[in-house]
């Protein structure tokens, strides 16, 4: 047993391994901090700000902030949850999210977080910005209407697939997901087996021809709120289960 860093999250004592971020330690301890751009196995990015917690009263993103001895972290507070709710609502009015015909519905992390925060309709005005769809690839689809610019696919393609198929161009409201080719996804070296396709939290990056393999009603978040896997029973030490990545720490270190 290596000496751990001990600190508290919402008053609960937590132990982190040296080098672990706050959100990683929270996951291990069974405390779910909402997140969109963070995904275990990918480099921390710190862009979505949903995982913002306060450390000693100061806000910081828990996916980038290393755990430190004795810090006092607050996450599940009315104020932070109000901010998270507002961030989610902004994402819903900035993109064009038509859940009723989205293949990702029920498995979508953005939607699941909106369910978790009890959003029935956003309080902001819809923007209806025009975004492009790139269906050029025979097996893969990009729908930028749904893209939340979390950069999971950018990081996964670069770090896990070793390809750099995706990147961002433009700034502010004009920022968009671009592909590493003159124009179209079909001109890149993306492959249907790329891990970049597995990490999209929304329905922006999809494999074609498998849309409704799992029917609506039997999907990940249809009956279970997002974060339940983190808050559930901690994985046994020798699990090797290959189960939900947020629970099973042993599968992450591979």
């Amino acid at each position: 047993m290596t000496p751990g860093i001990t600190f508290t999250i919402d008053g609960k004592q937590v132990t982190a391994a040296p080098g672990q971020t706050i959100i990683e330690a929270a996951d291990t301890a069974g405390i779910y901090i909402p997140r969109l751009c963070h995904k275990p196995g990918l480099e921390p990015f710190g862009s979505c700000r949903l995982c913002t917690v306060t450390v000693g009263g100061r806000p910081c993103s828990s996916c980038t902030q290393p755990a430190a001895e004795g810090i006092v972290v607050e996450s599940d507070t009315d104020e932070l949850n109000e901010h998270r709710r507002a961030l989610l609502e902004m994402l819903f009015v900035e993109g064009n999210h038509f859940c009723m015909f989205c293949e990702k519905s029920g498995n979508c992390e953005l939607q699941a977080l909106a369910y978790k925060f009890g959003i029935t309709a956003p309080s902001f005005t819809y923007q209806w910005q025009k975004h492009d769809v790139d269906a050029s690839h025979p097996q893969i689809l990009i729908d930028r209407n749904r893209c939340i610019l979390c950069a999971r696919c950018v990081r996964a393609s670069q770090d896990l697939d070793g390809k750099s198929v995706f990147g961002f161009v433009g700034r502010g409201p004009n920022k968009r997901l671009a592909v590493n080719a003159e124009a179209r996804l079909s001109d890149t070296n993306v492959d249907v087996t790329d891990e970049a396709l597995d990490v999209c939290p929304v329905g922006a990056l999809l494999r074609k021809h498998v849309g409704y393999k799992v029917p609506i009603g039997k999907r990940q978040f249809d009956h279970t709120p997002i974060g339940s896997d983190v808050e559930g029973e901690p994985a046994p030490d020798d699990c090797g289960c290959g189960g939900a990545e947020n629970v099973c720490q042993c599968t992450q270190s591979e």
Partner: protein, 184 residues
């Protein structure tokens, strides 16, 4: 309960497909219980065209795609104590709002002039005084009037509508279980 003591309820379908009304009818035999609790005022269910009095609850299906929708919605706001948006079209625009990223002129041209199945040699776009003017965009109901509750879903399930209505009509807080608030 006498007819006078029952809650009055009105419903309408604006820029919607009537799917939400179908879902309301999907409460099956509970519709008899609903009849015990409410009297229907203006609604396509009983085909009453004009409000006959003040209503306790108004159910809005669909967003606003033309000036008639706006007028009906404002009329509902005027006559109903509580307005509920039901379905994704009312809460976010829904399928009709797919046109919102396309300029209106392009939409009209595609529908009445350039579409592959269109035969319209004069190139006329329908413009009769009887036709309500189309809006530049499709608006969710809460961007036009104040909406008190939203029940998303395409459509919201019969259970969702039932649970919410019964809670409201029996003066209980509308707190729906996780499974009943879905966007799909």
């Amino acid at each position: 309960m006498g007819e006078n003591q029952k809650a009055r309820i009105a419903t309408t379908s604006l820029a919607g497909c009537f799917g939400c009304h179908m879902s309301l009818l999907d409460i099956d035999e509970r519709i008899l219980q609903l009849a015990e609790l409410v009297v229907f005022d203006k609604s396509p269910i009983n085909d009453i065209k004009q409000f006959t009095g003040r209503c306790d609850v108004g159910l809005i299906e669909g967003g606003c795609c033309n000036e008639h929708n706006v007028e009906v919605l404002r009329d509902f706001r005027k006559h109903c104590d509580i307005l509920i948006s039901i379905g994704d079209c009312a809460t976010m625009g829904g399928i009709p709002a797919l046109r919102n990223t396309v300029p209106l002129q392009e939409c009209l041209d595609e529908a009445y002039r350039d579409g592959p199945s269109v035969h319209n040699p004069s190139g006329m776009i329908p413009n009769d005084v009887e036709l309500p003017l189309i809006l530049d965009k499709v608006y969710p109901a809460h961007e036009v009037v104040k909406i008190d509750y939203h029940l998303p879903g395409c459509p919201p399930s019969a259970d969702t509508l039932w649970e919410a209505l019964v809670a409201l009509l029996t003066a209980k807080p509308v707190e729906l279980p996780y499974e009943l608030v879905k966007y799909d």
